[in-house]
């Protein structure tokens, strides 16, 4: 196969004009030849005998690349959000509420560290999940329902599973950008004292990917938007934000409410972040459990997303 490919390359590029292969789409190529600007080689010639080969290999990346082109068109707002959001929260909760909490607890907040250090990784993880929600729910709804771009993507060799994965990857890149910026502010506020505090970035990213995968699964299953996202925001995201050990340790809640934290991806991501930023003492088995739980949520989300995408695209 390799020899044949190289052989093909010489024939196409170096061979005399008369021996140049005719592209399969010869008719369309004739049209191409009539245009003002023209590509040096036709599509059939570039793609080779099996025209879908590159799409099958790199389809996921093409979907991600497309999302990055879209994000470029509103990069200014992404940048403003990524700067203003951490500053706002760290001042209001870390510094403002922190002063009050610390003064009542002899200069130390929960976990024996200043309040801003305690709450910082939780705010970091929260920002990851918030962005993951925004960058999953609405683009997926737009893809199936509003602009129907997924149907356009699927008219090419790219498959439903590749589209779902590519959307998740693009969302992950956006979350990574947001949490990296947030972490820089944490460090600037002195809220990330540990040497390995940057590990809070992949921890928050893992949380964002897990939650995002669940949202992609949910959004791809919603055929008619009857205000479902508002319900998710009010009944899932808001309680998750309040009861995941974000502002106070989960243990201070009555046992009957602690389960909200245990199932919440936010709590697991937050605890991992705390281990990274200030060395919270968490048993190695528990650290592993946090990672595995988040990984499992992500796998489940992807599995359901694959099925939903295939079902809706192949109707």
């Amino acid at each position: 196969m390799r020899a044949e490919r190289e052989d093909a390359g010489t024939a196409a590029e170096g061979g005399p004009a008369g021996e140049r292969p005719q592209p399969i789409g010869g008719a369309a190529a004739e049209l191409r030849a009539g245009g003002a600007a023209r590509a040096a080689r036709g599509a059939a010639e570039i793609l080779g005998p099996r025209r879908s080969a590159r799409s099958l290999l790199y389809g996921v990346w093409y979907v991600t690349e497309h999302q990055l082109v879209i994000m470029r068109s509103y990069f200014t707002t992404i940048l403003m959000g990524s700067v203003l959001n951490p500053v706002m929260y760290l001042f209001a909760i870390g510094v403002g509420i922190g002063a009050f909490v610390n003064s009542n607890a002899g200069g130390r907040g929960p976990g024996g560290v200043p309040y801003i250090v305690f709450v910082g990784p939780a705010l970091l993880a929260s920002s990851a999940l918030t962005v993951a929600f925004e960058e999953s729910a609405f683009p997926v709804m737009a893809g199936f329902k509003w602009q129907k771009v997924f149907f356009a993507m699927n008219a090419t060799p790219v498959t439903g599973g590749q589209i779902a994965t590519g959307m998740l990857l693009a969302m992950g890149l956006r979350v990574a950008f947001t949490v990296a910026a947030f972490w820089a502010f944490l460090a600037a506020f002195g809220a990330a004292p540990a040497a390995w505090s940057f590990l809070a970035v992949p921890a928050a990213l893992l949380g964002g990917l897990s939650f995002g995968a669940l949202i992609v699964a949910f959004a791809s299953g919603v055929e008619d938007d009857e205000g479902w996202f508002t319900i998710v925001q009010r009944l899932i995201i808001a309680p998750m934000f309040l009861f995941s050990g974000t502002f106070f340790p989960l243990e201070s809640l009555p046992l009957g409410l602690q389960w909200i934290g245990w199932i919440s991806p936010l709590w697991h991501a937050t605890q991992l972040g705390r281990v990274a930023t200030y060395g919270l003492h968490e048993a190695p088995a528990l650290v592993a459990a946090h990672i595995l739980y988040l990984g499992a949520l992500q796998a489940a989300g992807l599995f359901v997303s694959f099925r939903n995408f295939d079902r809706r695209l192949s109707k």
């Binding site: 196969m1 044949e4 052989d7 093909a8 010489t10 024939a11 196409a12 061979g15 021996e19 292969p21 592209p23 399969i24 789409g25 008719a27 369309a28 004739e30 049209l31 191409r32 009539g34 245009g35 003002a36 600007a37 023209r38 590509a39 040096a40 080689r41 036709g42 599509a43 059939a44 570039i46 793609l47 080779g48 005998p49 099996r50 025209r51 879908s52 590159r54 799409s55 099958l56 790199y58 389809g59 093409y62 690349e65 497309h66 082109v69 879209i70 068109s73 509103y74 602009q147 129907k148 771009v149 149907f151 356009a152 993507m153 699927n154 008219a155 090419t156 060799p157 790219v158 109707k315």
Partner: protein, 339 residues
């Protein structure tokens, strides 16, 4: 693999032999072949056992009213929608098994434009080309060429959201050409456009047809079918009612000319009976009663109209015209195409 190399040695060529060894046609030489094709949605049989085939370089039409099953058939040919029954072969491959391989050779213009509204005209073309695995070195000049083809030079940097309906439609067609497809599928290409935008689009499609691109077009406009299609099938309620060239369909299923007569509401039915009874019709002529007018199918329109008027009937308006595919459809189904 073995067969490939044997073939290559026999013809002594490099890539041309490798390309030719992939037979991009069905066993019977057609590009698309459907036999007893069925698609059901729950209880609804949207496509109910249709047979058709499309040859290379042909402009093939599916004509029928909304809900006839044209778009469903088209989505199966586009190798995305899975068929419920029957056989379908495209470029020698089964879409249920090799969807991505087939789609790599298709250009698809769906009924609803599904462009990316948030990015520019040029970005839409390049981004879409990427999905086929095409490199930027190919796509940059290709996008410029397609922008000219779609007559969108002034709008190249504009966000698609700001384009008119006709411009979006032209961009969707241009986008479908980015991979230099072997078959271009157009689902209702001009529905919802004003007459001027339709004519611009027809001109673009006609150029593709002249260049030898294989076209499959669904439409409920008989003028569109007559202008663009070499051959077509008339569809209704999931079935194919007739097949042929526009001219042969008219010859077989309609008369040469049609006289349209309006007598005012409530009077059409009675007048139709009177015209038939008075023996004003020639051999093989017939009268069709529509809610708003009478259609007299006849060989000699002017002569028939003259006889009707001479008999004392006074239509409010009258019109003599040649038969169209609309009349064929009416004859075959008892209903009109656009309701």
């Amino acid at each position: 693999m073995k067969r490939d190399s044997t073939h290559r040695n026999a013809t002594g060529g490099g890539i041309s032999a490798a390309l030719k060894s992939v037979a991009l046609e069905n066993a019977d030489g057609s590009l698309i072949s459907a036999r007893g094709l069925v698609k059901t949605f729950g209880q609804l049989r949207a496509v109910d056992g249709i047979d058709f085939s499309v040859g290379k370089g042909e402009a093939f039409g599916l004509l029928g009213p909304n809900g006839a099953g044209k778009s469903t058939a088209m989505r199966m040919v586009a190798s995305v929608s899975k068929r419920t029954g029957g056989e379908l072969s495209i470029l020698g491959m089964d879409p249920s098994l090799r969807g991505p391989d087939i789609r790599a050779h298709l250009g698809v213009v769906p009924q609803e434009d599904n462009l990316d509204l948030e990015i520019s005209v040029r970005e839409n073309l390049v981004v879409y080309g990427r999905y086929f695995g095409l490199p930027f070195s190919y796509l940059r000049p290709k996008a410029e060429e397609l922008i000219d083809f779609a007559q969108l030079r002034e709008k190249a940097r504009e966000k698609v959201d700001n384009l008119s309906g006709g411009m979006k439609r032209r961009l969707t067609i241009a986008r479908a050409l980015v991979n230099e497809p072997d078959i271009l599928l157009l689902d209702e290409p001009t529905t919802g456009l004003d007459p001027q935008a339709r004519h611009v689009l027809w001109d673009r499609l006609f150029r593709l047809k002249e260049a030898g691109v294989t076209l499959v077009i669904t439409t409920h406009y008989m003028d569109e079918a007559e202008q663009l299609c070499d051959r077509l099938v008339v569809m209704d309620r999931g079935h194919i009612m007739a097949e042929g060239t526009p001219a042969s369909l008219i010859r077989e299923h309609s008369s040469r000319e049609v006289v349209e007569l309006r007598f005012g509401s409530g009077r059409n039915e009675g007048t139709a009976a009177a015209i038939s009874a008075a023996g004003l019709l020639g051999e093989g002529d017939r009268v069709e009663v529509l809610p708003d007018r009478l259609l007299v199918y006849t060989q000699e329109g002017e002569a028939t109209l003259a006889r009707v008027v001479a008999s004392g009937q006074r239509p409010i308006t009258s019109l003599v015209r040649r038969s169209s595919l609309e009349d064929v459809f009416l004859r075959l189904t008892g209903r009109s195409l656009v309701e």
